[in-house]
């Protein structure tokens, strides 16, 4: 199994898009995305059938810059496998949703696929330098995507988002360079994560480097107080870009916090876990309550993303095996769920030309398919059993409850209570927009979903249901890796 294909296919797709005209770009992009999804599923089965899951699978190493000890080193484990699946599902859905884009389609799909290729590379890299390369690759296309194809205050939001994410990656860069410096001090300069993890850095060094890496990645996963890019960015971005932002980019952050910062600097993670938990709880609550006040359904989902990503950080901060597995499950679940939410909100907006919930009403009567999907996304968000959200959040809570002291218990109880708030805004949102009489006469003749929209929604709903009804294979896969990586710190 050649893992480099995961990067190669998007690159070939990009080249393909360069050579076709206008609307053909979407066909190439869709072809590439489907191929990528097929490859990811194939990779999943190949990974599941491995007997020894305690080491990196499908490892590949090529020397890149020998003088710096920079290698093109890739490999996957349970956690990255889950993220790869997520990314390819969202990619296919994102391309399908943007099928009918009129304005500069070629450029649009080019940037979209470039963003995804950065994410794929990020999730499979083991070398910090290579990883950072892909990380940055997925930051910049967002600016052009939002500024060109967005709506509302798009230029302001695009700039704000780019600068804040760049701020995050600057912090990550400092963290990486500090780690490199430590490896130089230890006599073996390296960017390789496996080698750095084995260095056995002293607690002082870990405590110095950890905040840079964790906060840097935390900016991407909308950690309070660095979440302010998320509402602006999401609400201004075109539908597919919102899906990518919330479904993939925010997960780059969560994955980085867990797989890079916490893995490489375990002692510091333990030391700082109190702060992580406090920030996560604030994020969860703050996000939930701000969501309550939104009229704009896209902003509603943007703020609820802040709240939901708080669970990821909470799971990481709790430092128990179950909570960490929950954190990864939450990343996957939220990624699919929020992509679905943004997709369906985008589709509704295309028809009604308003995103204000209270201006809609009775949409269930005119577009039953879209409305049902909206409800499914909502129920996933509030954690209804049978959907993925329940599995993920429940795992986080169970894991968090395993830590018996007062502080952790309080934090867990508080976080659990936010579910009530979530239920309030979801149910109210659904009620206002979908039920009741049709408020605006113009809405009476709106068409329901087209084939591409149905397919996009279908693939996301299917993922949610698969994950919600049979989560065991996924959580087993993740928990194997969690045990291997974090055996030293998890309780």
């Amino acid at each position: 199994m050649n893992l480099s294909l995961l990067i190669l296919i998007p690159i070939l797709t990009l080249i393909g898009i360069l050579f076709v005209d206008g609307k053909m770009a979407r066909v190439v992009a869709l072809g590439g995305a489907i191929l990528q999804l097929a490859l990811s599923v194939f990779l999943l089965f190949a990974y599941m059938s491995l007997t020894d899951k305690s080491v990196l699978a499908f490892e590949e190493t090529h020397v890149w810059f020998a003088q710096w000890n920079i290698n093109y080193h890739i490999g996957i484990d349970g956690i990255s496998m889950a993220m790869i699946l997520l990314t390819s599902v969202v990619l296919v859905a994102g391309v399908l949703v943007s099928w009918n884009i009129e304005n500069k389609p070629k450029e649009f799909f080019f940037l979209l696929v470039m963003l995804a290729s950065g994410a794929f590379g990020f999730f499979i890299s083991i070398d910090l330098f290579t990883q950072f390369f892909f990380f940055e690759l997925s930051v910049i296309p967002k600016y052009l995507l939002i500024a060109n194809w967005g709506s509302g205050r798009k230029e302001y939001s695009a700039m704000k988002l780019s600068l804040m994410l760049m701020g995050g990656s600057a912090l990550v860069l400092i963290g990486i360079l500090v780690l490199y410096y430590y490896s130089v001090l230890a006599g073996s300069p390296t960017f390789d994560m496996q080698a750095i993890a084995k260095l056995g850095l002293s607690p002082e060094k870990q405590l110095f480097a950890f905040p840079f890496l964790f906060v840097g990645f935390g900016v991407l996963s909308a950690m309070f107080p660095f979440h302010t890019w998320a509402p602006d960015g999401h609400s201004s971005a075109p539908t597919a870009a919102s899906m990518f932002l919330a479904g993939i980019s925010m997960k780059l952050g969560g994955y980085g916090c867990l797989r890079v910062a916490t893995w490489l600097l375990p002692v510091a993670a333990k030391e700082y876990s109190t702060y992580i938990i406090v920030l996560a709880c604030i994020g969860i609550f703050y996000g939930a309550f701000v969501t309550l006040r939104q009229r704009d359904i896209k902003l509603m989902n943007a703020y609820s993303s802040v709240s939901h990503c708080g669970f990821v950080l909470l799971g990481i901060g709790m430092l128990t095996k179950t909570a960490m597995v929950g954190a990864v499950l939450q990343m996957v679940s939220h990624g699919v769920m929020t992509a679905l939410f943004f997709a369906v909100i985008g589709m509704i907006y295309q028809r009604t030309h308003t995103r204000m919930g209270d201006e809609m009403g009775g949409l269930m009567k005119v577009m039953p398919f879209l409305s049902s999907v909206f409800i499914i996304a909502g129920l996933t968000s509030l954690g209804l059993p049978g959907f993925s959200g329940f599995v993920a959040e429940m795992t986080v809570f169970v894991g968090a409850w395993q830590v018996p002291d007062l502080f952790h218990r309080t934090a867990t109880i508080l976080a659990t209570m936010s579910i009530v708030v979530t239920a309030v805004y979801i149910l109210r949102g659904v009620g206002i927009t979908l039920w009741g009489p049709i408020k605006n006469a113009k809405f009476e003749n709106l068409p329901d979903a087209t084939w591409n929209e149905k397919m996009a929604a279908g693939i996301l709903v299917l993922s949610i249901i698969i994950m919600g009804t049979m989560p065991l294979w996924l959580s087993n896969m993740i928990s194997n890796t969690t045990e291997v990586l974090f055996g030293s710190i998890i309780k």
Binding site: F65, Q67, F132, F133, I140, N148, L163, A170, L173, Y181
Partner: protein, 470 residues
């Protein structure tokens, strides 16, 4: 040492000199030479210079005044390459001018001066080379005879460079007084690190700081860059800076290695200030040439990280960064030159909607700008990260934090250019036009360089193999 040996040793200088002499003769004996013929001859002589790199021959001449080693040959090769690009890019502007040959002669003299500067093994040769590279350059700045700003820029440049030369000479005389020699090796042996000698080092360094336009010696840069013809601005921002950085590294590591602990903090401080101030000023610029002037000040700040780290890896990173910087900056200036010559527009606002009318030019400029900002997959990402990594190896963590935070600021203004071209709409966009072939060649080379230099680790490996032996 036979005559042939001298020629082999001074192969770059000899070819440049020969080209200058032939050009002079052409000027005298042929009237109404076609611009294309002149360009052809100049390109040929530049290619000869590049070819000269493949002749090996090392050693020193004139009692250690003139030193040739593989690294210095590579440095000469790099600046010759950049100059070749400048000649090509200047063609579309120069062919409208009457003084095509003069421009070539003067630019080649500057290059010759830089060759001597790079090969200096003695402060006397160093100073001669420096002056030879500076004074003709001022005439080039004034080459746009019709524009008063051009002469103003030249005046500023010649006054300030005289001022900085004076400071430099003062430092050199103190050094001579305390060590009794001007030879690099003899000074190193006699260097004790006394406070008087350190003061001399500071004075010498401020001479360099002027040439590389480090803060607080940067004030001439924006005015001169804005006044000069675009091609000369490109030369100033790339070649002139590169040559000075090369000799700075030589001087610091060959002459003052003992004082490493004294000059590193100085460089770290200047590097941090330079990139910050350059960035803060670049944000406010509306004229694209001034904008690139300040952005080049920021880049100089980044280069200084590699100089301060002072290791084989860092020197290789500096050369590598400068090579990438040549591609990015000349690429950007070629687009600017095309647009300025065609329309006379120089404001960033004039670039609004450029993507609609001239998509390929916009993409070239976008790639160049992203490379300057250090965004993957352009080569600038690698160049910048290697400089930062070399700083990390030397443990300059504070500087790295400043540098990384500065990358956010610089992203803001580089994105402003991207925004103007790709997002903004304009009532009066620059009309679609066809570029001339020479500029097209430059753009293709630059874009290829911007994309390929980063991924091809062989280039870095080669440079490193030359720096590691020294």
């Amino acid at each position: 040492m036979s005559f042939i040996d001298y020629i082999v040793l001074m192969r770059f200088e000899m070819i440049a000199l020969l080209a200058i002499v032939v050009l002079l003769l052409m000027k005298i004996f042929s009237d109404g030479l076609k611009p294309a013929t002149s360009l052809g001859f100049v390109v040929l002589s530049m290619l000869a210079l590049l070819g000269a790199y493949f002749i090996t021959g090392e050693g020193d001449a004139f009692g250690g005044m003139f030193v040739v080693d593989p690294l210095r040959s590579l440095e000469k090769c790099i600046i010759s390459f950049a100059t070749l690009l400048i000649f090509l890019q200047a063609h579309s502007w120069l062919k409208e001018q009457e003084n095509y040959l003069e421009f070539c002669i003067i630019l080649l003299s500057v290059l010759l001066g830089m060759f001597f500067l790079i090969s200096a093994g003695n402060f006397l040769m160093f100073f001669l080379g420096l002056e030879m590279a500076t004074i003709p350059l001022a005439t080039l700045v004034a080459f746009d005879f019709g524009r008063i700003r051009s002469s103003e820029g030249a005046g500023k440049m010649i006054l300030l460079s005289a001022f900085s030369s004076a400071i430099l000479l003062f430092g050199l005389s103190i050094l001579y007084g305390t060590t009794g020699s001007l030879d690099f090796i003899e000074i190193r042996e006699a260097f004790t690190g006394s406070s008087l000698q350190l003061m001399a080092l500071v004075f010498i360094f401020s001479g360099f700081a002027f040439k590389i336009s480090l803060v607080p010696f940067h004030l001439w840069t924006a005015d001169v860059y804005e006044g000069a013809p675009v091609s000369v601005t490109a030369f100033l921002s790339v070649v002139s800076k590169a040559a000075s950085v090369f000799i700075l590294i030589t001087v610091l590591t060959k002459v003052f290695p003992i004082a490493y602990d004294s000059w590193t903090p100085l460089l770290v401080l200047l590097s941090g200030i330079t990139m910050t101030i350059g960035n803060l000023f670049a944000i406010r610029q509306t004229n694209i040439k001034r904008f690139f002037a300040f952005s080049s000040i920021t880049q100089a700040g980044y280069i200084l990280i590699g100089v301060a780290a002072a290791s084989a890896q860092s020197t290789a990173s500096v050369l590598y960064f400068i090579l990438i910087y040549i591609f990015s900056n000349i690429g950007a200036f070629t687009v600017i030159a095309l647009i300025t010559n065609r329309t006379g527009k120089e404001d960033i606002d004039d670039y609004k909607g450029l993507y609609k009318t001239n998509p390929l030019l916009s993409i070239a400029l976008l790639l160049a700008v992203f490379s300057l900002a250090g965004i993957p997959p352009t080569a600038g990402f690698f160049g910048k990260l290697f400089l930062l990594s070399s700083g990390a190896s030397a443990g300059l963590i504070t500087l790295l934090i400043v540098a990384s935070l500065n990358m956010i600021v610089s992203l803001y203004y580089y994105l402003k250019i991207a925004k103007a071209m790709f997002v903004d709409k304009s009532g009066y966009p620059i009309e679609h036009f066809i570029s001339d072939n020479a500029s097209k060649i430059v753009l293709v080379i630059c874009v290829a360089g911007i994309i390929a230099t980063g991924f091809l680790s062989a280039i870095f490996e080669y440079i490193y193999s030359l720096t590691i032996v020294l």
